[in-house]
Subunit: 131 residues, 2 copies
DNA sequence: TTCGAAATATAGCCAAAGCTACATTTTCGT
DNA sequence: ACGAAAATGTAGCTTTGGCTATATTTCGAA
């Protein structure tokens, strides 16, 4: 289940890394068929998050860029939190993809505080191996 | 977004507490309209998780009960984990409702280990107030 | 330059989770 | 016992995220 937010995040990445974001690449990377990607891109346009012309790539609007930034930050914090409490990296990456979309701002702030604390003195908890 | 799993969990609770699970109560508690609840209950029947006869209540099959148990346990662990890392209780309860559906078994095991550890010696991290 | 491959577009279908509107059946109070 | 209120059922619509099949356009290699 790839949400609209994930498209925005990926498109921002592709634009930064390759200067372009093509439908085929988006579909392949997200593991969906290209009509599915096309339809979602149409929604991005409708909602003012992206612009695109037929047979040319997709580009983000200011609003799209802002959303991508927020989504990416939240994604990273969720992965880090999961790893910090001892979730194996692979599971953390996989589960974060779903979990991230249900993390409120309040919860995200708590994650940030926790990560700051555990980066400092929290040596006894989390992904430090077997007891 | 109330998933099938949440219906099963709630129906199990209602059956345990009141001996019956009525469509109206299910709908009211989940905050959906009754046709939505009815439709989901039909899916529960189709998938062998519940039985029901017109105008009588809903009951869970063995499979339904088993699912309810797993879902409830996972729900509780997610809430506890969130609280343990410092998420305010209200946000923990609210966000867990969405997060729970994306927590794999591996991640859930990690949550369990973490909670066991932090119950023992992890006094410096989590919901212990301001530093 | 041209033709085949790759990319893109479009049409039409599905399931889950939601809604409103309306019909029917139970239940309950008088 | 009866009628109104409550509960339940049903029809039909929406959105999001999927799919397959088919048409069209663009691109690249010979
Ligand atoms: Mn995601
Ligand atoms: Mn993500
Ligand atoms: Mn839930
Ligand atoms: Mn739940």
């Amino acid at each position: 289940m790839t949400l609209l937010e994930d498209y925005v995040e990926l498109i921002a990445d592709l634009l930064k890394e390759h200067g372009e974001a093509r439908t085929t690449d988006i579909a392949r990377i997200l593991g969906v068929t290209h009509p599915t990607a096309t339809k979602t891109i149409a929604r991005l346009r409708r909602e003012g998050l992206a612009v695109s012309r037929p047979y040319r790539g997709v580009f983000l609007t200011e609003a799209g860029i802002a959303l991508a930034d927020r989504v990416r930050r939240r994604h990273r914090l969720v992965v880090e939190l999961l790893i910090a409490v001892g979730v194996p990296q692979e599971s953390a990456e996989a589960d974060a993809e779903g979990i991230e979309h249900h993390v409120s701002d309040v919860t995200l702030s708590a994650f940030e505080r926790y990560l700051k604390k555990s980066a400092a003195g929290g040596r006894s908890l989390g992904a430090t191996g077997k007891p």
